[in-house]
Symmetry: C2
Subunit: 324 residues, 2 copies
């Protein structure tokens, strides 16, 4: 692999390395940070792992998460930087004051939209997760897999493939997973912690959302809404909303699932998910939002009711046109 040499060269030059992933880190961001940090430390480097946002509690099952510090906890300027799972420079968050003027950035990522903002860019859109690229690195470098490294890599694969459920679950992903479990890690405990565990606030929000669940007469659209009262009472972090909209999409026979959520600033945020027929990215775009065919979002000014009255007829039209 051609990128492997530039990576090894970077490592050989560096003494102190800053490792950063994206704000509001997901499993791949946290795991790739920890895995890269662990590797570099094994090679005798001084490592600083940083993230603008706190690490979500469910990842505390991974050793060393407490060593990932927030931007304001460190000082100094770094000349060697590894950016992980960041599609663009802004995703790294507020780290400007940590970069030396001649900072050299290695950008390792799997997003097809990656803007190649690094001095070296290792962008592999075929990889299911950034940790998959790190796994290839580990193999190329001839590093032996221990349980600690394996648990990091497994977590990133698990979360970025939705627990091996998304279409990026390639045979290669499953073979890597097998090699990682070969080390003896308790992969079921990782799955339990990062995929199954919920906070009570998440369940309370889910209950509120489900109590508002409605479905179109033909069963193709299902929607739920959360009022400000609901979110004021239960929403602690934006992660708490993760996955709620999927409950609507996952209903047998439904193509489009929607969550309408009233926010503090008088707007309604709309999350859209679809199974097969409706390109919800296109619909969201028509209302000034964005996303892709199966997952998208947009924002309306006004009340929940007004947002529903704009969105539902538009989806009806899409479905009518599809059925022609």
């Amino acid at each position: 692999m051609v990128w492997f040499e530039s990576l090894q060269h970077f490592i050989s030059e560096a003494d102190q390395v800053l490792i950063v992933s994206h704000v509001n880190p997901d499993g791949d961001a946290v795991s790739s940070t920890l895995a890269a940090g662990y590797l570099l430390k094994r090679w005798g480097k001084q490592v600083t792992m940083v993230n603008e946002s706190p690490v979500p509690k469910k990842f505390f099952i991974l050793e060393g998460t407490k060593e990932i510090v927030s931007t304001d906890q460190i000082s100094g300027r770094f000349r060697h930087v590894i950016a992980l799972d960041c599609a663009d420079r802004e995703r790294m968050g507020n780290i400007r004051q940590l970069l030396a003027e001649d900072a050299f950035i290695i950008n390792i990522d799997h997003h097809a939209t990656n803007e190649r903002f690094g001095d070296v860019n290792i962008v592999v859109p075929d990889a299911a997760a950034t940790v998959e690229i790190l796994f290839d690195w580990v193999e190329q470098a001839g590093v032996s897999l221990d349980q600690r490294l394996a648990s990091y890599l497994y977590t990133g694969l698990l979360t970025d493939t939705g627990g091996f459920r998304y279409s990026n679950t390639t045979p290669k992903v499953l073979r890597i997973a097998a090699q990682l479990v070969d080390t003896g890690i308790e992969s079921h405990k990782i799955a339990d912690a990062v995929l199954e565990t919920v906070t009570i606030e998440q369940l309370q929000l889910l209950q509120k959302a489900l109590s508002s669940l409605r479905r179109s007469d033909d069963g193709l659209v299902a929607w739920m809404s959360l009022s400000r009262k609901d979110t004021d009472a239960f929403l602690q972090s934006h992660e708490d909303l993760d996955g709620i909209v999927n409950y609507a999409r996952n209903i047998l026979g439904v193509d489009v699932g929607i969550l309408f959520r009233e926010t503090e600033d008088g707007t309604v945020k709309v999350s859209l998910r679809s199974r097969e027929f409706v390109d919800v990215g296109k619909v969201a775009k028509a209302f000034g939002g964005g996303g892709h065919a199966r997952a998208a979002g947009c924002t309306f000014h006004g009340s929940l009711k007004e947002a529903e009255e704009k969105m539902l007829p538009r989806l009806r039209l899409e479905l009518e046109c599809e059925k022609r």
Copy 2:
């Protein structure tokens, strides 16, 4: 593998084969039936696939599910029978009138508790699913994997490992999964259909259960209840209850999750799940029920309130004793 030859011998002798799995079939039962049926048909055998219970709709994504008939749709008596995923004879359901007097039963299963009721017993407790044993058979027999066969085997692995989340997700399971996805099957569509899809009645029951959610002061026990009114309104099949109790168990910090459910006959059915500390099998047994350490159940006479008043102090005691 020593069992392989007896299986091949059985096949060579048989012209007509009855294939049966267990009542209320899960993914492994349905998939192993379809996979065995497909294999035997490829070998020129006449195959009858039977199940006492209807195949749950979520498995209709698999080709040929409609060919699995109910016990009363067929007549005649079979001399060659393959029983799949059945730990004992009773699990096969009401098939007595389909068996010839000299019926020869091949019992293929992965439950450690299997009672070896067959004339040949291929019981592999290390296998995560019955389809894992069938995969080994396919390999031994030198049968080429096509997409149809792969989709069956994948489904059984997926459902019996809880989507590769349970502790039976061995490296071997993941390597087999990789080989199956190599055939080009759209494994994400299978995962969506069999693991993600819910009925609206399931969500309505979940909403009712969540609205009753309570948690002990120390956060170690969480419980929910469903009244007869709730189940009368929404419960269509027992599958609709699958997984509801896990929402309580999955709360961060909770060790024991409970679902109390009022039934038609004036009893309360209690489902128990635990993470780590409490052996809920022992607790259920103390009340005349059964199960194992992490998943168990029992039944009380009386009201929901009375059931809670019996169960909750008992769990409190277990936790106090654990903490000593």
